[in-house]
Symmetry: C2
Subunit: 98 residues, 2 copies
């Protein structure tokens, strides 16, 4: 008999649970948006089946709204993740006043 190799299961339980949370879905959507932004079509073509997200995740408009990001000149030139990172790092520096 064949020994079952330690291959990735057809159902990724850990990811499935993750995608069923609000923040998890947000994160996965931001990853997909990054791939779309840079036209990483081949990566996306594998990402969708591997994550079972054929129906697609949240689009950029919904993501920006959920994250409170208002699209402007400074944001449209990059993936939303770039804006998220910028804000995250601003926070690290602390407030300018008091």
């Amino acid at each position: 008999q064949e020994k079952v190799e330690n291959k990735a299961p057809l159902v990724n339980e850990s990811l499935k649970k993750f995608l069923n949370t609000k923040d998890g879905r947000l994160v996965a959507s931001l990853v997909a948006e990054f791939l779309q932004f840079f036209n990483l079509d081949f990566t996306l073509a594998v990402f969708q089946p591997e994550t079972s997200t054929f129906q697609g995740l949240e689009g950029r408009e919904n993501l920006a709204r959920d994250l409170g990001i208002i699209e402007a000149e400074g944001t449209v030139g990059g993936p939303l993740l770039l804006e998220v990172i910028r804000r995250c790092q601003q926070k690290e520096k602390g407030p300018a006043t008091g």
Copy 2:
């Protein structure tokens, strides 16, 4: 003669410039870390050549350090992007005092 179809060029100029910036590299590394965290091996196997990041990007340890994230019980159960999103959203709520 064949008409040149509008295929993705072999060199992704936009992504290349992006990866040459500190924040861009950070973002791409967070995406790769997400793929690794959930064992999305097939996606990674296409992501690396499509983004020309065969040498790998920043690993989780370096990413956490660059983002000022201290790994603890609450962070290790998810991709770093989850912690980034949580912090980003906390910021949106505004400070508890004043």
